[in-house]
């Protein structure tokens, strides 16, 4: 096998493509969790986004409607979660789990009529520039708009949380809803908004899978990526840049282990398959081992319900 520089570029490009849904869903969930809400329904919201995007694309033929429709579907289903946990003050963990089960079930029901229909080709940008620069060409060019958005998102999220007033409010609500409330912040409203935003990003992540990555609908097609996204948020200690690193390592090892198999590296395949999970956790734990920083970035009211009158 010849390892040339473009080959490496191709591998990096496929690693980045596989990291996109993880980055989107994790960054969305990060905002939700930073406001103090633990939504375990990421997998459910993702799969709802996947079927909504695919169904809308098939029915309307419009990719724009489909992408925004998938985000809207994520918003709608997360509204259920928001209503239950914020208005009816139900337990976050139980409600989130229910949301995942609900999402998987309802997506299968809607999806019955969309099985076996081929998807449409999603347009890519700067296709012509791919061969102009060695190595960087395939990495930088020839991807969908969602791809570029996903790689900008961690930086936008980081800026939003650190430098903007609304970001500060979100963090305040997540750290101490009581104090935030006393400052005149509408805790419930902020949390609603953060949950809905998380839903939109999960929906977009699902749409990426069913419309761009593997354009088709089949049941359970998210294949547990929602859970991995959730784990990334925790192991990155609520830091969007570390989410980006974690998602790249996870996607990278998944793809590199396939390459190692194809080259014929004699390492037990089961070990190679487990590698992405093990290494991602180890790396994230190691780069986030500063306990002071963890304390600073962990939303201290995470998963706790907030009553205004208690």
């Amino acid at each position: 096998m010849i390892i040339d520089i473009n080959f490496i570029g191709l591998i990096i490009a496929s690693i980045m493509a596989s990291a996109v849904p993880l980055i989107l869903a994790s960054c969305g969930e990060l905002i939700t969790e930073r406001s103090g809400v633990l939504n375990l329904g990421v997998e459910g919201m993702m799969i709802i986004g996947a079927i909504s995007g695919f169904a809308l694309m098939t029915v309307t033929g419009s990719l724009i409607i489909a992408v925004f429709g998938a985000m809207l579907a994520g918003v709608l289903i997360s509204t259920i979660f928001a209503f239950l946990t914020q208005t009816l003050i139900t337990n976050h963990v139980a409600t989130g789990l229910a949301l995942t089960i609900f999402g998987i079930g309802i997506s299968a029901m809607i999806g019955k009529n969309f099985v076996g229909i081929p998807g449409k080709e999603f347009p890519v940008l700067f296709e012509g520039l791919k061969d102009t620069i060695p190595l960087l060409g395939p990495i930088l060019f020839g991807h969908s708009i969602v791809f570029y958005f996903a790689f900008a998102l961690p930086f936008i999220t980081s800026y939003f949380l650190k430098k903007t007033k609304i970001g500060l409010i979100v963090r305040a609500v997540g750290d101490s809803p009581e104090s935030a409330s006393n400052q005149g912040i509408n805790v419930k409203l902020v949390r609603y908004a953060c949950i809905l935003y998380g839903g939109a990003m999960s929906g977009l992540a699902g749409a990426y899978l069913s419309m761009i990555y593997t354009p088709q609908w089949i049941e359970n097609m998210t294949g547990g990526r929602g859970w991995i996204a959730l784990a990334l948020v925790v192991f990155s200690t609520w830091n969007p840049i570390k989410i980006l690193i974690g998602a790249m390592i996870f996607g990278g090892l998944t793809i590199i282990q396939f390459h190692m198999q194809a080259i014929g590296v004699r390492i037990p395949v089961q070990f190679l398959t487990a590698l992405p999970y093990i290494v991602t956790i180890i790396v994230l734990v190691v780069i986030s081992r500063d306990s002071r920083k963890i304390r600073l970035s962990t939303p201290s009211s995470l998963g706790k319900s907030f009553h205004k009158d208690n």
Binding site: P118, T214, I255, F258, H259, T273
Partner: protein, 356 residues
């Protein structure tokens, strides 16, 4: 008005009663137990197509999808046997023990277990398809169509069914092109479009220009389409997902067998059987051959298909050697069903080791 209501109520009761009696007395009811969702467009989907054929033949059917291969399976089977089903098809290997266990408790219900080998009670039959015959055809096509001489193969789990497929594919490909290399990547899933696509991409990036698969989703043929290489459909005709990439598909066609067996139950002629059908009996179907294949290859494939069907050609005809060069099947002999059923070694020419 009241009278009318009462009358219609009574008459509908009578009607319902007659219908129920009729159903119990005459109709044969068949039940299907599925491992996955019917929406997988793969293994379970094809079984459900078979179920619909039974329905079209005038029988009542029910199905339960997503049944785990655990104690849950027993519970589902008991429930189905208790609720008046005459024949129950259990369509995954892992249902083998639950099927036999429940069959003992319901001697009047017929059980049909797919891909297993245990028939502990007279009311249990087993059935499977010789998919490896289809893979002989795919191997022949792949060996002829490849230009890079590297053929990629996305495999699921190291079980005899999959190993047999890899061997049969490689033997056929080597026969038409001794220079080919089969690169195998184990995805360790039957069904995860994202992972399957990544596995296929890795093989393509390493120079494979024909991709075969033993996983269920259409992600691989779509990836091949995007990359401009060839691929083959699995379980169902996947041509519409990747019209340029898909050269042909091997389809699982359970319908005729299902209709046959349900009819046998209705006629009272059902008896225990072990069925292993291939191309000849129509359980394995080769989809239309793509016009990108040269005409002489197409006619060669057609002939091979006919010879496999008639038994003139066997996928595993000696001499066959394993990777270490030990003789597996002697010259002029063919592998017997026992050897095929337990095949856990690669033939010569396949690269790498079988994951343990």
């Amino acid at each position: 008005m009241h009278k009318f209501l009462i009358r219609s109520f009574v008459s509908s009761l009578v009607l319902l009663f007659t219908l129920t009696v009729a159903a119990v007395a005459k109709d044969v009811k068949a039940a299907f137990v599925y491992i996955g969702p019917t929406g997988d467009h793969g293994w379970t989907y094809q079984h459900d197509v078979g179920r619909k054929a039974v329905e079209a033949a005038g029988f009542k059917t029910t199905y339960v999808e997503g049944v785990p291969e655990s104690a849950d399976a027993e519970r589902v089977l008991r429930q189905l046997a208790n609720s008046g089903h005459d024949v129950i098809f259990t369509t995954s290997f892992g249902y083998m023990n639950p099927t036999n266990k429940v069959a003992k408790e319901f001697p009047n219900v017929k059980f049909e277990h797919a891909t297993g080998y245990k028939r502990e009670h007279p009311n249990v039959s087993t059935y499977a398809a010789r998919f490896y015959e289809g893979r002989t055809i795919l191997g022949t096509i792949a060996g002829t169509m490849t230009k890079s001489n590297v053929i990629g193969y996305v495999a699921s789990f190291p079980i005899p069914e999959v190993i047999r497929g890899i061997n049969s594919f490689t033997l056929a490909a080597q026969k038409v092109n001794p220079n080919i290399k089969t690169k195998i990547v184990w995805a360790f899933t039957w069904y995860d479009p994202g992972k399957e696509a990544e596995a296929a991409k890795a093989l393509i990036d390493q120079g494979a220009d024909v991709i075969a698969q033993h996983t269920d989703s259409t992600a691989i043929v779509q990836m091949a389409e995007k990359a401009g290489v060839y691929a083959f459909g699995q379980a169902s005709d996947m041509d519409k997902f990747a019209p340029k990439a898909v050269l042909t598909s091997v389809e699982n066609n359970w319908g005729p067998y299902y209709v046959d067996r349900v009819k046998a139950v209705a006629n009272g002629t059902w008896s225990q059987k072990d069925t292993w059908h291939g191309i000849g009996d129509g359980m394995v179907v080769i989809s239309d051959l793509d016009s990108q294949m040269p005409a002489d290859l197409r006619s060669k494939v057609k002939k091979l298909q006919a010879d496999l069907a008639s038994g003139k050609v066997h996928s595993f005809t000696g001499p066959i050697y394993d990777q270490k060069g030990n003789l597996m099947v002697a010259e002029g002999k063919t592998a017997d069903d026992g050897m095929l059923a337990g095949m856990m070694t690669y033939v010569k020419g396949v690269e790498g080791d079988i994951p343990k």
